[in-house]
Amino acid sequence: MPRTCGAPTQSSRGEALAELDFVNMSETTRSHLTINSFDLANIAVFAALTSVLALAPAIPVGALGVPLTLQTLAVFLTGMILGGWRAFLAITLYVVVGLLGVPIFAGFVGGPGVLAGPSVGYLLAFPFTAALVGFLAHRSVREEHVRRRAGSTSATPDKRRGLGLKLFLAGVAGLVLSHVLGIIGMMLVGGLSLNAAVIADLVFIPGDLIKAVAAALIAVAVHRAFPRMAGAVL
């Protein structure tokens, strides 16, 4: 079986930029109702990535080897890379396909039955989480591009760390939203009391914070490799 992935097969940076030039117009000039083929592809592929990361075995992290599932990582990542509305559509697609019955939710679950479960709040919050994270993240990335262009000729590590921090904060905003809605879901559907729901929720916060950090680090690398993802006018 041939290698399926690896280094991009673009012939050169210049050719890669040329291809993106035509179709990834600046977000400020495009009408939000049009989804071109590249948007469609990004939305579908990231919905697939979310499925794959949600199903990947939990990764042991840190000295204690605490297992972290990657579903929320995927949501943060999709937001930070695709931006507000594309991430919203990508995660909505993920949730809809999962609700259709394909078992792509964490734990190999799927189907409308999930709406009866206690995690329904988090699940339904995901598209909005991704949208919020994406909206904030892309704004930061665009500012970063403009600043780099105007300022230095070489990107100093300090500036990059700045972007990483901003992306992390975007992730935290999304985290807050998803946990608030998750708590509400646990109360309404799982029948938990407010105290019980909050306590159950707190268990997941440290893990989600780590995932926000990881997503920010990954997204910084991705935006460096693909400068046009955020639609910045360079």
């Binding site: 992935c5 083929s37 469609l40 592929v45 794959v52 697609l93 993920y94 734990g107 039955g113």
Partner: protein, 206 residues
């Protein structure tokens, strides 16, 4: 312990067959099964949910899916059932615990019946039909079907990509640090999405 993910578990939820449920038209089947789901959730009575759950087990056996598959589809919920059931048992008593747990199992089982007896392309057509109201708002529902197909088709590739990178990392005896693993996978994913977009455009599907 790492659980190996089988690709056909994900996409091959459809089990071919010629049973009554298989041959039943999607619209009727979906209305019936989802209607039952809603009834279970609204009534939330443990006896009713138990009856429905038993019915799904019976249907599974009769339609050629087998009891083992029926049980396997519910196994992922075990942990959740224990947690949730335990909580309600302590705070709200056995009746409430039973109704919450059994209704959850019944609903999951019903939806599993639906997708096990319907091939994926048919399901996608059903989804596109469901989105017809959206088309009145100017949304191209055909593209929704295309998006679902694109997503399904991308999943095996992404599994392969992640698996390869994990193997490569293991070969170089790097511990599977999530960031180090997922970064090249994500870059490859963005690249893959870009190529997919090109192919879509080249085939005039934009």
């Amino acid at each position: 312990m790492r659980r190996k993910v089988r690709r056909d578990d994900l996409l091959g939820t459809y089990v071919p067959g010629r049973s009554l449920l298989h041959r039943c038209p999607l619209a009727l089947k979906a209305t019936l099964l989802l209607g039952l789901c809603i009834t279970v959730m609204v009534i939330r009575d443990w006896q009713f949910s138990l009856a429905v759950l038993s019915l799904t087990a019976l249907s599974s056996a009769v339609c050629g899916l087998g009891l083992r598959r029926w049980a396997a589809s519910l196994r992922p919920l075990l942990f959740l059932v224990i947690l949730l059931g335990g909580y309600h048992l302590i705070f709200n008593g056995p009746a409430r615990a039973a109704s919450i747990v059994l209704s959850l199992l019944a609903v999951v089982s019903l939806s599993r019946l639906l997708i096990s007896t319907t091939p994926l392309p048919r399901l996608i057509d059903g989804l596109v039909w469901l989105c017809t109201p959206l088309s009145w708002c100017g949304v191209n529902t055909e593209r929704i079907g295309l998006a679902v197909s694109l997503m399904i088709r991308s999943v095996p590739w992404l599994f392969g990509c992640l698996g390869e990178l994990r193997d490569a990392a293991t070969a170089r005896t790097i511990r599977a640090n999530p960031v180090r693993l997922v970064t090249p996978a994500t870059i490859a994913t963005v690249n893959y999405a870009h190529h997919t977009g090109e192919a879509l455009a080249a085939r005039g599907l934009d």
